[in-house]
């Protein structure tokens, strides 16, 4: 862990991309901007990988703010996240070169893309909380810019603003957490916090309050139940944006934050319970909504929501390394899913409604293969990546409580259902649309190939202990997250769990395969209507929160003008008083004489009697 200036260089590369493309984007022109952006991300990937091999790195600028250093730190945990962010990020950059072909703001897009990567890297590498916060809000800004990339349409601009504001609510939680930790420990750098928390000597409830604030921050960023409204609307952005930001990287930042602060959350039953509850609720909400959507990107968005629910449950039950493992696997197969949807949209000339698709198996053979693998991996078919991480989560939930395991099993069944629904509606049956689909160019296909390989193989880095094949991820991560005691399930229960989840997955996939091909029954149509607009959550928020606040603002505005009236009233009161006094001068000389003598007598009396 040596101090090296290469660490900030990792962040500087994409930042350089942002600046170059931002200022001279037009001059750089169409394909060159894309390649430049992609290679910069590749550069930071390789640099990060090389530093990780050397056992991590550190870089600090002391007293950036009084008592707060600007410090970056690459350890195993942020190493894994770095690999995901820059690796998958690079692939999506390549894919976007093809996808964004012919768009007017081509270089502007890639400069924002690089800004996002830079902000995400700062978030992941930041050691002191304010630095993480810079990345945290930087990522929010990038998502605002990218969602509202085609800002000329009102709906895109509105959803960008909505995303930013909801994220800001989460950020407030993060800020308050920083305030509380500062007032408790007087420092905000995570390494010192770890020692201080071990040292003890603080009231336990305030620490759990800090944990709660962090949780609010994570909910805001990872779109968990109360603050999940912005993710579906975020699909208004171009598909690579949805793939990178709203599948692979940004939404997982919340999980990363919780895992990074595992030493605060661990051992606090209340917090763990609430995380599990939130995760479960989000998983079910995401799954059910996804089943009712018609827009292809919204389907995939809700599936992401559901998978995030899984990750939160993993963190809740204390399986921190499993959450990161699920992030890695999810990054691969979800990005693949998004990119295949993107290829399909690209092929159909921008058509996003699933009802106008179908039969892509014949027209786009290669994309079909990617779609099949993505659906199966997301559904949790045994040998693929999705199965292993989901199964690990299920194992830990069984430890936490069998009732939770049953619910999670149901959720994974739903996951299999919506994955296969997505596959069937897009690739099977006859083509219902009017356009004539053509295969995507190689620059879009090759990233998908790599992701397909990942979706197939990445599961094997975290096998359960029963399979004698060594588990690489757990020891690697626990060095950074910290050792948390965890007694292993007996062997036979582990095997039964694995077999049961495998059987459920295969069964549901087959059932779904057949179910979605024939005309849908009546009860499903009614359910679909409700699920389409997210069980009316948006409408609920508007009536309960947004409109009353706007009305109150109007009221306050007129009240403020009234305040000014109040001061003017005070003035006129003085004027009235003055008028009264002036009235005294009634002009009659006798009155004056009387006034004079009366005052004289009074003064003399007072003078003598005093």
């Amino acid at each position: 862990m040596q101090e090296t200036v290469l660490l900030p260089l990792i962040v500087a590369l994409p930042l350089l991309g942002f600046v170059l493309l931002g200022l001279w984007g037009r001059r750089i022109g169409e394909p060159a901007a894309g390649w430049l952006a992609s290679f910069l991300v590749l550069g930071s990937f390789l640099l990060g990988f090389w530093l990780l091999l050397q056992g991590g790195a550190k870089w600090t600028l002391a007293e950036w703010l009084p008592g707060i250093p600007f410090s970056l730190r690459l350890d195993n945990l942020s190493g894994v996240m770095l690999m995901v962010v820059s690796g998958v990020g690079f692939l999506i950059h390549l894919w976007a070169i093809g996808y964004m072909h012919g768009d007017a703001g081509y270089s502007r897009f890639f400069s924002y893309f690089n800004l996002f990567i830079a902000a995400m890297l700062v978030l992941v590498l930041g050691d002191s909380l304010p630095v993480v916060f810079i990345g945290w809000e930087g990522v929010g800004l990038a998502s605002y810019l990218l969602i509202g990339f085609w800002y000329t349409e009102r709906v895109n601009a509105d959803s960008a603003r909505k995303a930013f504001i909801v994220n800001r609510i989460g950020d407030l939680g993060f800020l308050l957490a920083m305030g509380l930790l500062w007032s408790m420990f007087g420092t905000l750098s995570i390494s010192e916090l770890v020692e201080k928390v071990e040292a003890g000597g603080y009231s336990f409830t305030t620490l759990s309050l800090a944990g709660f604030f962090l949780l609010i921050g994570a909910i805001g960023k990872s779109a968990q139940v109360p603050l999940m409204v912005w993710l579906p609307d975020a699909m208004a952005g171009p598909t690579p944006v949805s793939a990178l930001i709203h599948a692979a990287t940004m939404v997982t930042a919340g999980v990363y934050l919780l895992v990074r602060h595992a030493f605060i959350l661990h051992g606090d039953a209340f917090l763990a319970g609430s995380i599990v509850a939130l995760g479960l609720l989000t998983a079910f909400y995401g799954a059910l909504c996804s089943l009712g959507q018609w827009d292809i990107k919204r389907i995939v968005a809700y599936t992401t929501l559901s998978q995030l629910g899984f990750m939160f449950v993993a963190v809740g039950v204390g399986a921190y390394w499993v959450a990161i493992f699920h992030i890695v696997t999810h990054a691969f197969f979800k990005a693949l899913m998004f990119m295949t949807s993107g290829s399909v949209i690209h092929a159909l000339g921008g058509e996003q409604d699933v009802r106008q698709m179908g039969g892509m198996r014949k027209h786009l053979p290669i994309t079909h293969r990617h779609g099949l693998v993505a659906a199966l991996a997301s559904g949790g078919l045994p040998p693929l990546a999705g199965f292993w991480s989901k199964d690990a989560i299920l194992a830990y939930t069984f430890e936490y409580g069998p009732w939770l395991w049953a619910l999670m099993l149901l959720a994974s069944a739903l996951a299999a259902l919506y994955s296969i629904r997505w596959y069937v509606l897009v690739f099977l049956g006859e083509y219902r649309g009017k356009a004539h689909p053509h295969e995507s160019p190689p620059v879009m296909l090759w990233p998908n190939h790599i992701l397909m390989g990942g979706a197939l193989g990445v599961g094997f880095i975290g096998l359960p202990y029963v399979i004698d094949y060594k588990n690489f991820l757990e020891p690697f991560l626990s060095k950074a997250i910290g050792e948390f005691p965890h007694e292993k399930l007996p062997v036979w229960t582990e095997w039964t769990l694995i077999i049961v989840s495998a059987l459920v997955a295969i069964g549901v996939l087959l059932w779904g395969f057949r179910f979605f091909q024939q005309p849908l029954p009546q009860w499903y149509a009614r359910f679909q209507q409700a699920a389409l607009n997210g069980f009316y959550v948006d409408m609920l928020y508007n009536t309960l929160l947004v409109n009353p606040l706007k009305a109150l603002a109007e009221l306050l505005f007129s009240a403020d003008r009234g305040l000014l009236g109040g001061f003017a009233g005070l003035g006129s009161l003085m004027g009235g008083l003055g008028g009264l006094l002036a009235r005294l001068e009634a002009g009659a000389l006798r009155l004056y004489l009387l006034g004079f003598l009366l005052a004289l007598v009074l003064l003399l009396l007072w003078g003598v009697l005093r």
């Binding site: 002036a582 009235r583 009634a586 002009g587 009659a588 000389l589 006798r590 004489l593 009387l594 003598l597």
Partner: protein, 96 residues
């Protein structure tokens, strides 16, 4: 000592006169009365302390009163010539 009380009485009589009379001349007359009350007080004090200054001052007062009468009556006569009345209650144009 008794004369001091007498002058005080005279002074308050003058004040009463100022308040009750309506015509300007009588008001002015009662003010002159108050002046003479002050002169009386001075004379009695001179007698008490035996100093000559007070008596000289009384002479000054008489001269001053005369000057005041000259100017005052001139003014009152001018008003009478223009308004045919010296009732001070009618002069009420200047107010508020």
């Amino acid at each position: 000592m008794i004369w001091l009380l007498a002058s005080a009485l005279l002074f308050s009589l003058g004040a009463y006169g100022v308040l009750t009379r309506r015509t300007a001349i009588l008001v002015f007359l009662s003010i002159e009365l108050m002046l003479n009350a002050a002169a009386l007080a001075l004379v009695s004090l001179a007698r008490l302390t035996g100093s000559l200054d007070a008596q000289v001052v009384v002479l000054f007062i008489i001269a001053m009163a005369a000057a005041e009468v000259a100017v005052g009556l001139g003014l009152i006569v001018a008003i009478f010539r223009r308004r045919e009345t010296t009732n001070i209650d009618e002069l009420r144009q200047l107010r508020w």
